[in-house]
């Protein structure tokens, strides 16, 4: 069986998403968790591009705009996340995600 | 005559003194006592000025001051003085300094004491001089505040309870009066005493009230005002607050309460109730006469049963003030009836006014005497705790004896003239009431002589056995002016009747119902 380029792209992005998810779930270092989340985001970005490029109505530039927005938001999010990580580190001298649970109910 | 607002000066100088004492934080006890005394003497000085400019022949208020105050409510700041007011201002001027002198010793925090006392004095003067209900009522209620604190803070063991009872009872009575006047205001649009009295005299007051709320409305309002005043005098049986309050108050405050404050009620009867409600008062006068007789007779008999000297003197106050009311009610009873002469009414009313003044002197002196007994024996004032004081302190006994005989109406002393005129008048207006009231005279003699016999006669006993000093120089200042006035006014009552006779004659001249 042969795969269309869209399917190939989707497979790739699914793989990437799974790698990100597993990374985010299995790591206890908060920065690595963030990295995982970035990977998942990028998987989503690839999907945007793939559906735009190989989808039924490749209108002018829609997928690229979505991805650009997404990347910008991801960068901002990463900045906030890293700032939080630093703040957490200041308080408890490590960045283990399991121990950052002071705000639980 | 100068254009100085003399009456405002009279009223507000004591208040100014009170404020001054309040501000002088560092004043020594002696200095604050002296300051209080000086300010309290201002009334006497100013009333002598008033006496100079006063024209007894004019029966309308003199020295009138009138300024709009709250225009929307037609409230005026209005002061005026006639013979009745002048008599009471003089009395206040005499009793207050004497009362302050009597409490000169051993009172803690004399600055506050003096300030409260001056406030009390100012409020009483305001009551005697105001011609509009609004300021009048303001002063009337204002007098309770310092009185409450004087009793509560400087009083004896049961003082707190007595002070609360005194204030709440009196305020309770005043509430009825306030309600009555509110209704009057709504119906007539004015609270000026003279205007209201004129409206009452020509009968339009009753019409306006009837138009406002039906025929019985006048009676309801009358009853409200009556209760307010009756509690203050007090009219029997609204008197039960008085013995504890007088007994627990410190000596000076007792003197002021009985000497001046008890006159506020009688003044209210003469200034407000009688002129504004002549009709309802006449209708109720039969019952009121019975109540006044109750005060005269039962008051005296209750006094006989007391073992606390201050309570005894307090009951004698009820008895003596009931004579005033008896005379007024008898006049009201006879109003509009055929027979009684205006001469009898003039006698009764003159007697009332004299009795107010004379009782002020003699009761204050008696309280001062009991206070001196207390001061010498560490607060003892039981009838059975003394004996032979006359042996130990003959001069004190002599001065106290004059006060006592003045109180029981011995001729030659001031008490007799007032009582004789009251009896003379009441006999002409309602002979049976006079005959029954005679029992009060007898009982008064009985309990006062019992007091005298137990405390002053016999061998030295009880609290008198130890050191017992005779009258001290400071105490002469308290007793001698009062006793001297008793002697002078007993022989020369015209000094007072001169001031009030035209007014009383005018009152007695038109005893008609609207």
């Amino acid at each position: 069986m042969s795969l269309s380029p869209l399917q190939l792209c989707l497979l790739f992005s699914s793989a990437l998403f799974c790698v990100g998810l597993i990374g985010a779930l299995s790591r206890s270092n908060t920065i690595l968790v963030l990295l995982g989340i970035e990977l998942m985001l990028n998987a989503a970005n690839i999907n945007f591009i793939a559906f735009w490029r190989f989808g039924p109505a490749p209108a002018a530039g829609t997928g690229v705009v979505f991805v650009l927005f997404s990347i910008a938001v991801a960068a901002a999010e990463a900045a906030v996340g890293l700032a939080l990580v630093i703040a957490v580190y200041r308080h408890q001298k490590n960045i283990r995600l399991q121990e950052a649970n002071r705000l639980k109910g | 005559m100068s254009t100085l607002p003399l009456l405002s000066l009279v009223v507000f100088t004591p208040f100014a003194g009170a404020a001054g004492l309040g501000l002088l934080r560092g004043a020594s006890p002696a200095a604050s006592r002296a300051l209080a005394l000086i300010f309290s003497l201002s009334t006497l000085a100013l009333s002598l000025v008033l006496l100079g400019g006063f024209d007894p022949a004019r029966t309308a208020p003199q020295f009138v001051e009138r300024h709009a105050w709250i225009a929307a409510l037609n409230v005026n700041y209005s002061l005026g003085l006639d013979g009745l007011s002048l008599l009471l201002v003089l009395l206040t001027g005499i009793v207050t300094p004497v009362a302050l002198l009597a409490s000169a010793k051993a009172e803690r925090d004399s600055r506050l004491f003096g300030a409260l006392f001056l406030m009390l004095q100012g409020a009483a003067l305001g009551v005697f001089l105001a011609l509009d209900f609004f300021p009048w009522f303001l002063f009337w209620e204002l007098s309770l505040v310092p009185a409450f604190f004087l009793i509560k803070l400087w009083g004896g063991q049961g003082a707190t309870r007595a002070a609360y009872q005194f204030v709440i009872y009196t305020i309770g009575g005043s509430a009825f009066m306030l309600a009555g006047f509110a209704a009057l205001f709504v119906a007539t649009g004015t609270m000026d005493f003279n205007t209201l009295a004129q409206l009452a005299a020509d009968g339009s007051l009753a019409q306006k009230l009837a138009a406002f709320g039906g025929g019985n409305w006048t009676k309801v309002i009358f009853l409200g005002v009556l209760i307010g005043l009756a509690v203050k005098v007090p009219l029997w049986p609204f008197h039960t607050w008085l013995p504890p309050a007088y007994a627990e108050a410190p000596t000076g405050a007792s003197m002021f309460l009985t000497g001046v404050m008890s006159k506020m009620g009688v003044y209210g009867f003469l200034r407000i109730l009688w002129p504004i409600f002549p009709g309802p008062l006449h209708d109720a006068s039969c019952w009121l006469l019975a109540l006044a007789l109750g005060g005269v007779v039962l008051g005296a008999w209750s006094a006989m049963r007391q073992t606390d000297l201050k309570r005894m003197v307090a009951y004698s106050s009820i008895n003596h003030l009931s004579y005033c009311l008896l005379a007024l009610f008898a006049v009201s009873y006879a109003t509009g009836r055929a027979g009684p002469s205006s001469e009898a009414a003039a006698a009764a009313l003159s007697g009332t006014l004299l009795q107010m003044f004379n009782h002020g002197l003699s009761a204050a002196a008696l309280f001062a005497c009991v206070g001196m007994l207390e001061a010498r024996t560490g607060g003892k004032r039981g009838l059975h705790e003394f004996g032979g004081v006359r042996t130990a302190a003959p001069i004190f006994a002599g001065l106290c004896g004059v006060a006592m005989f003045s109180s029981l109406g011995l001729p030659g002393l001031n008490g007799f003239v007032g009582e004789f005129l009251i009896f003379r008048g009441v006999f002409g207006l309602n002979a049976w009431a006079a005959a029954i009231a005679c029992l009060g005279l007898l009982a008064t003699a009985l309990f006062l002589l019992t007091f005298w016999q137990r405390v002053f006669h016999g061998p030295r006993a009880g609290a008198t056995t130890g050191v017992f000093a005779d009258v001290q120089p400071g105490e002469y200042l308290t007793l001698v002016p009062l006793v001297a006035l008793m002697l002078v006014l007993g022989v020369a009552p015209h000094l007072l009747t001169r001031l009030i006779n035209p007014l009383v004659t005018a009152w007695a001249g038109h005893l008609t119902l609207p």
């Binding site: 779930l25 206890s28 968790v33 995600l97 399991q98 950052a100 649970n101 639980k104 109910g105 | 009872q165 009872y169 049986p237 008197h239 039960t240 039962l298 008999w301 209750s302 006989m304 049963r305 205006s342 001469e343 009898a344 003039a346 006698a347 006359r390 003959p394 002599g398 005989f405 011995l410 001729p411 030659g412 007799f416 004789f420 005129l421 009896f423 003379r424 006999f427 002409g428 002979a431 006079a434 005959a435 005679c438 005279l441 007898l442 003699a445 009985l446 002589l449 019992t450 016999q453 002053f456 006669h457 016999g458 030295r460 009552p493 015209h494 009747t497 001169r498 006779n501 004659t505 007695a508």
Partner: protein, 671 residues
């Protein structure tokens, strides 16, 4: 020498001034106080003599000087002085007797610490008494009347450290005040009915024809004429002051005072004020005689009370042992005589007896005082005895006084004045009972006075006190002698053969014939009284102080009852006293429980309402809100547990949700 009526006020003013001086003199100034008092009294005596001269020029005239005390309404309260023979004679008597007693007192009270005060009070008394006499206004008379009562109170209680004296003073004041209330009411009525209280005022006074006519023609409760009612009320005052039944109880107790006081106030002058009052208002008292049909005449009551008192006093005096009390009851009895005379219409006889009685009773009291002074304050006649030896002057003068009082004929003044009264009583056409009462009292008087003299002066001394008795100094005996002389001579002013006094007092007086038989009767009765007295007490003289009285031995019950003064004090204590206590208790209970209870009930109701609203507020309204909020809070707590803080957990849930979503999409088909 003349004293015009305008200056009549000087007579009481002088002693008043002396009283003022006495009041301000320190205790050491004995000479000043006594000198001022005696000097003022002496001057007053001279002035009184001057007034008498003026009055005698025209005995029928009533000279007045009225003035305004103060304005009242359109009229005024007026007072005034009155000078007529009655005033003048009384003034002379009071000032003369008073002067002698004052002099006697300087000796009697010599050692008393409060000497100055004593003289101050005596002067006050004299001033007030003279005020009564010169008053032309019932009001002024009442004022002086009350002041006399005050002086009497002060002097009875002079030794106030003795509880008995203090109690007696109070009793005297209160008892007389009961009568005075009647006086006051009578005065008020008179003032109301006539518009005046002046006795004589150029036709407008209350004792003048127009006022009296008006008073007699009006009637009041019970059909009494107004004048009768007023007269009876005034008589209440007189009865109180003059110790008439039933208000006589205070007079014997008043003997607790120093003896000169008893002599001056409670024998000679003050107690006679009641008699004087009735004599003064006699036109008013007798006005109702004009109406024959009146249900009651004021004077009949006076006569009845007088007769009862005369008899009662004499009977009780028989069984007393205290020398002063015997004299006190004899005073009660003699005052009864005077009232009797007034009642039967002979006011001049009453005044005659008043004057003679004043002298001989003052004499008797002062002599008794001399005895007491000599016997170291022993007053019980059983303890005395044998005093006629050491106390010669006292005995002689006392005997003269005793004979004057008993009415020994011809020489002694008491005989003539008593004779005048009996004569008048005999001629009274209403009833003869008062006359018989008077006759019995004559016998009794002679009897108890004989007993007194026999017990006290004869026999042997029965106690150390009387053994060591010695005569008093001249300052005390000279007044006795002077009074004794007067007690003899005064009677000759009013004998039926030369009734000067009667004519002076009442120019219309004319003596009725037929006194001879009566005089014989009364001489026989006096002889009977003295004879029986001597037979019982004189022949077998008492040997021991403790021996029983001869009468007591015969009729012990009667004697005991008399000695207990017929139980009047107990009766009053059981009735009036109890009633008074009951009323006082009732008034107090009323106050404490009923009126104060009502107030407290009201206050309690207010508090109850307050409590109720507070409870509703706290439990119902606030409680509801609280419960709701509490519920919210606990729910929130439960749900907040979902936030575990485990970030991996959250992520896991997100992934799981995603997987479930994918599965749902795949299994649920396409669209």
């Amino acid at each position: 020498m003349n004293l015009s009526v305008q200056y009549l006020w000087l007579i009481p003013a002088l002693p008043l001034l002396a009283a003022g001086i006495g009041a301000l003199t320190p205790r050491s100034g004995k000479a000043i106080a006594a000198g001022a008092t005696i000097g003022a009294m002496g001057l007053a005596f001279v002035l009184s003599c001057g007034a008498l001269v003026t009055a005698l020029k025209d005995p029928a005239a009533h000279l007045v000087a009225n003035f305004t005390w103060f304005e009242l309404g359109h009229s005024a309260v007026r007072l005034g002085w009155l000078l007529d023979p009655l005033t003048a004679l009384m003034c002379v008597m009071v000032t003369f007797v008073g002067l002698l007693i004052f002099i006697f007192s300087t000796g009697y009270m010599h050692e008393d610490a409060n000497f100055t005060r004593f003289f101050c009070f005596l002067s006050l008394f004299a001033a007030a008494m003279l005020g009564i006499l010169i008053a032309n206004s019932l009001l002024l008379l009442f004022i002086s009347w009350e002041l006399v009562g005050l002086a009497s109170y002060l002097l009875i209680g002079f030794w106030f450290h003795k509880p008995a004296a203090a109690a007696a003073a109070k009793k005297a004041f209160i008892t007389t005040r009961i009568g005075d209330l009647g006086f006051l009411l009578g005065m008020l009525w008179l003032s109301d009915a006539t518009g005046s209280l002046l006795f004589y005022d150029a036709g407008k006074g209350v004792l003048e024809t127009s006022a009296l006519t008006a008073l007699v023609t009006q009637t009041t409760v019970g059909g009494l004429a107004v004048s009768t009612a007023i007269g009876l009320l005034l008589f209440c005052g007189a009865a109180g002051k003059s110790g008439q039944f039933p208000l006589h109880v205070w007079l014997p107790d008043a003997m607790e005072g120093p003896t000169p006081v008893s002599a001056l106030i409670h024998a000679a002058t003050m107690v006679a004020a009641g008699v004087f009052l009735i004599a003064r208002v006699y036109p008013l008292m007798s006005a109702d005689q004009a109406i024959a049909t009146a249900p009651l005449h004021a004077l009949s009551v006076v006569a009845a009370i007088g007769a009862i008192t005369a008899l009662l006093g004499a009977v009780i005096a028989v069984a007393q042992n205290d020398i002063k009390r015997i004299l006190a009851f004899s005073t009660v009895s003699q005052l009864g005589y005077m009232m009797l005379a007034l009642g039967v219409g002979s006011w001049v006889a009453a005044i005659f007896h008043l004057l003679t009685h004043a002298f001989f009773k003052a004499l008797l009291f002062l002599a008794a005082g001399s005895v007491i002074h000599a016997a170291h304050h022993e007053q019980d006649i059983r303890q005395l005895g044998g005093l006629k030896g050491p106390l010669k002057v006292t005995f002689a003068t006392f005997a003269i006084g005793m004979m004057a009082l008993a009415g020994v004929p011809f020489v002694f003044s008491g005989f003539w004045s008593k004779e005048a009264i009996l004569h008048a009583a005999h001629g009274w056409n209403v009833s003869h009972l008062p006359f018989y009462a008077g006759l019995v009292a004559v016998v009794l008087t002679a009897f108890y006075m004989t007993r007194l003299v026999a017990e006290a002066f004869f026999g042997q001394a029965r106690s150390p006190a009387s053994e060591h008795a010695h005569e008093s100094p001249a300052v005390m005996t000279v007044p006795l002698v002077l009074l004794a002389i007067c007690a003899v001579l005064l009677g000759f002013l009013g004998t039926p053969y030369w009734p000067w006094l009667q004519h002076t007092l009442d120019p219309k007086f004319h003596s009725e014939p037929g006194g001879g038989g009566l005089m014989v009767t009364s001489i026989v009765l006096v002889a009977l009284g003295i004879g029986s007295g001597w037979a019982v007490y004189g022949r077998r003289l008492r040997a021991k102080a403790s021996a029983p009285d001869p009468i007591e031995a015969k009729v012990p019950d009667l004697f005991a009852a008399l000695a207990a003064r017929l139980g009047f004090d107990e009766l009053y204590a059981a009735t009036v006293g109890r009633l008074n206590t009951f009323l006082a208790d009732a008034a107090d209970v009323f106050d404490r429980y009923i009126w104060d209870g009502a107030v407290r009930l009201l206050a309690g109701l207010g508090q109850f309402t307050g409590n109720v609203t507070r409870e509703t507020d706290e439990n119902l309204v606030n409680g509801g809100f609280d419960a709701t909020s509490e519920q919210l809070k606990s729910t929130a707590k439960t749900y907040s547990r979902a936030q575990t803080g485990d970030t991996h957990g959250y992520l896991m849930l997100v992934a799981l949700g995603f997987v479930l979503l994918v599965l749902a999409v795949m299994l649920g088909g396409t669209r």
